[in-house]
């Protein structure tokens, strides 16, 4: 039995080594794809958002306002036009992402001591970029407004400090916690790494089991006992290599892209272990249930985006309807992507209830998936042997 066990390991290594496609998908593709995806966000924040200014007044004051927008890191005034329709046209063509409209009475209102109004329009089809642009444009206009008001008070003998306090009695300091740069990479990088690994690891495990239907342990040509030993062998082999692989992936991504590691590495490692156990079960179940490798890949490809949406990684579960929240509890990425991000970025660990819950759920799911995969495996071995039996009898008869 021990010999069969050891031989089984050799068999797994040989199978993986000989299948260059699988070797690439398992060992190289997850890290390579994660690096490609994370590097895309390496700019961290979106600056130089192109703006069109509709200057219906054209004076020194309006030019000062335009210059203030242009000098802000966040914006680039790429067009100054006189008609609103022209600016909207530019927005529709994708040339600009925002419009500042200065009305014809802007300078006159300022001179008469009336409030002058400016309209700031931002293309909010992408909410996150839109919201950030609105906040930044508000800051620009407020600064200009405060400068004008302060100047008028200073002209009457106030100090700059007093005048500023009069004009802007409350100043707001924005502080994005745990992601001070308000970086897209920090927000998405770790989750996308986990999701890419999820898909490619599941594909490898499912393929490894599905391929056994041809001539291997699920072909019915092996003894039942031998098949079970190989089943455990596969679990251990892919479990160990997969665990090493996911740790390398996260280590590389955190190091290369300078993620702040505020939590314990051990906590990430433990959660990764639970995740791998879970994925092993799901992969084995998929591999035994699907007819062949292609079918496994089909299902995995189809489920990529539903898994990502339901994991609560981009749109939090708290904002989803209850039925989806309940469904999401049975998906491994739900209990891994957000918790890992929280450990790395916020520094929480197993002292936090939500992380303990995620670990426990991953373990429950792992046990469930293992049991189901074992039942499905045994059933497939039994039915394969049943199919194979008449052939063996026929063979024996012919030989006799």
């Amino acid at each position: 039995m021990i010999l069969t066990f050891i031989k089984g390991f050799g068999r797994e290594i040989k199978t993986l080594w000989l299948d260059k496609r699988m070797l690439f998908m398992f060992l190289i593709a997850p890290l390579a794809l994660s690096i490609v995806v994370c590097a895309a966000f390496s700019g961290h924040v979106v600056n130089n958002i192109p703006l069109a200014v509709v200057d219906q007044n054209s004076s020194a004051q309006t030019r000062a306002l335009i210059a203030a927008f242009d000098e802000a890191d966040r914006f680039n005034v790429t067009y100054v036009v006189t008609e609103q329709d022209e600016a909207v046209g530019l927005m529709e063509e994708g040339e600009v992402l925002g419009v500042v409209i200065i009305p014809p009475d802007y300078t006159r209102s300022l001179q008469l001591g009336q409030q002058a109004e400016v309209l700031i329009g931002v293309n909010s089809a992408n909410n996150i970029i839109g919201n950030s642009a609105v906040v930044s444009s508000m800051q620009v206009v407020k600064t200009i407004s405060a400068q004008i008001a302060v100047k008028s008070f200073v002209a009457k003998g106030s100090t700059v400090e007093d005048a500023t306090a009069m004009v802007m009695p409350i100043s707001t300091v924005l502080r994005p916690w745990f992601n001070p740069q308000f970086s897209y990479l920090t927000y998405l990088g770790l989750g996308l790494t986990g999701l890419i690994f999820h898909q490619l690891f599941l594909m490898t495990v499912a393929t490894a089991f599905a391929e056994e239907k041809k001539e291997g342990i699920l072909s019915g040509k092996m003894k039942a006992k031998e098949s079970i030993i190989h089943f455990i062998n596969k679990y251990i082999f892919y479990g160990v290599t997969g665990y090493g692989n996911i740790l390398v992936n996260y280590y590389a991504i955190i190091t290369i892209f300078d993620f702040p590691m505020r939590g314990n590495r051990e906590d990430v490692a433990i959660l990764c272990g639970c995740y791998i156990l879970c994925l092993l079960g799901v992969g084995a179940l998929l591999g035994t249930l699907c007819k062949n490798t292609i079918h496994c890949i089909q299902w995995l490809m189809a489920m990529t985006y539903p898994l990502f949406i339901l994991s609560g990684f981009s749109w939090p579960l708290t904002e989803m309807p209850e039925v989806l929240v309940k469904a999401a509890q049975y998906l491994p990425p739900t209990h891994f992507l957000v918790p890992v991000r929280n450990i790395v970025l916020t520094g929480v660990g197993f002292e936090t209830e939500s992380i303990v819950y995620s670990r426990d759920m991953l373990l429950y799911l792992a046990v469930g998936a293992f049991m189901l995969s074992l039942i499905s495996f045994l059933w497939k071995v039994y039915s394969a042997r049943k199919k194979e039996k008449p052939k063996l009898v026929e063979k024996e008869v012919v030989q006799a």
């Binding site: 001591g113 409030q115 009069m166 300091v173 309807p321």
Partner: protein, 401 residues
């Protein structure tokens, strides 16, 4: 001609005989549409849980807190003693943002100095962060102006004069094309289109390779290999357009996401996108040695496409290398353009460049896949012929003997 029709129906029969295939091709995109519609049904963030650290604790600070409480965007869940407690509450998920008043907040206001307030947000999820920054800054800005104007009104100014003096440049903001700041508008199209692309490229990628693998090339040899490619592409085009039409109908009619573009633009632009995806899939299918390689390659190829399409992170923020790389994916030339068609109601003029690129991708990939497939089919035929001759030779020799 009859053979071509035969192949067309054979392909349909192949798909209809396999319910799994149809489930994946038709129902998965619809399923994703429903998931998106349901998940993002809340639209925007509201009742964001906020904590308060008030080192000043006066009527003035309570007024600020009350202003947050009154807003539908925020729920003030409680007061905390210090920043450590706030940070812990954020880590535990009790709150997602905070307002911190320094000890001298009220004193500064009373003594005519500027008072600072810190608006914090848990930016681990940028959805929370961006909403808190925007809505919180609006509330605090309004309060600041109110306080400033009040001080002038107390000196005998009218409210209008006071406002003009303290805030000479006012502004109002308009969030164009997504006025309610709805995240469903932002995300739904991207996920649905990416899913349709994923399943479509997959099936296109096995469409030719499976004929080779199954050894059933003989069944379709009456049809010219070039037509084999075209007819298969037509079948997948019909299915994908049908599925996409259902998804779009659901998006508009069930989930209330607007579609301001005309039917012509929808049809023309979508058709070019799906043709380019199918042609690309068929190119993989013609090149790759077997269906497993073709599907694995398309999986790896499509994985980064949504990120690189500029859908969440605009392409202008990419490095030039990534900007060039993004051009390879049909998704890049459709997902943003289509969102603009839907929200802005733009016409062919505005998406002309994207449509041209999709046309080039479709044409280029289709020509290449036809040529490669033609060569492969000829090679296979030659091999088969050689095999037949070698099988017949011993028979001839036997007859001769």
């Amino acid at each position: 001609m009859i053979a071509a029709f035969g192949l067309f129906f054979r392909e349909w029969l192949y798909l209809l005989k396999r319910p799994r295939t149809l489930i994946i091709m038709i129902f998965i995109p619809i399923f994703v549409t429903c998931i998106c519609g349901m998940s993002f049904s809340a639209g925007s963030f509201s009742h964001l849980k906020m904590g308060v650290v008030d080192y000043s604790y006066t009527a003035k600070t309570r007024e600020v807190v009350e202003a947050f409480q009154q807003s539908s965007y925020f729920d003030v869940v409680g007061y905390y003693e210090n920043e450590e407690q706030i940070e812990k509450a954020m880590k535990d998920g009790e709150i997602v943002g905070c307002i911190i008043f320094p000890g001298d907040f009220t004193t500064n206001l009373q003594q005519g100095r500027q008072a600072e307030v810190l608006l914090g947000s848990s930016a681990v999820n940028m959805g929370y962060g961006s909403t808190i920054n925007l809505r919180g800054a609006e509330i605090l800005g309004t309060l600041s102006t109110q306080t400033a104007v009040k001080s002038l009104v107390a000196k005998g100014y009218t409210v209008d004069d006071g406002l003009a003096k303290m805030n000479p440049v006012g502004f109002y903001t308009r969030q164009w094309y997504n006025p309610t700041n709805n995240f469903g508008y932002f995300l739904t199209f991207g996920f649905v289109i990416a899913t349709v692309q994923q399943v479509l490229i997959y099936f296109a990628a096995i469409s030719l390779a499976r004929e080779k693998e199954s050894g059933k090339l003989g069944e379709i040899k009456k049809v010219n290999p070039i037509f084999q490619v075209v007819i298969k592409a037509l079948v997948y085009y019909i299915i994908s357009m049908g599925t996409w039409a259902v998804c779009c109908w659901l998006i508009v009619n069930k989930y209330g996401i607007p579609m301001k573009g005309s039917f012509d633009v929808w049809f023309g632009y979508s058709s070019l996108f799906f043709l380019s995806v199918i042609a690309m899939g068929q190119l993989f299918s013609a090149i790759m040695p077997n269906p497993v390689f073709a599907t694995s390659f398309s999986l790896v190829f499509t994985s980064p496409s949504l990120v690189l399409s500029g859908f969440t992170w605009p392409t202008m923020a990419f490095t030039s290398f990534y900007q060039k790389l993004a051009q390879v994916f049909p998704l890049t030339h459709f997902v943003i353009g289509y969102r603009n068609v839907a929200f802005m109601g733009i016409g062919f003029d505005a998406v002309h460049d994207e449509m041209m690129i999709l046309g080039y991708i479709s044409g280029g990939c289709l020509i290449l896949s036809c040529v490669i497939w033609l060569i492969k089919v000829k090679r296979i035929e030659k091999k088969e012929q050689a095999l037949r001759i070698s099988e017949e030779e011993p028979d001839i020799q036997a007859v001769a003997q």
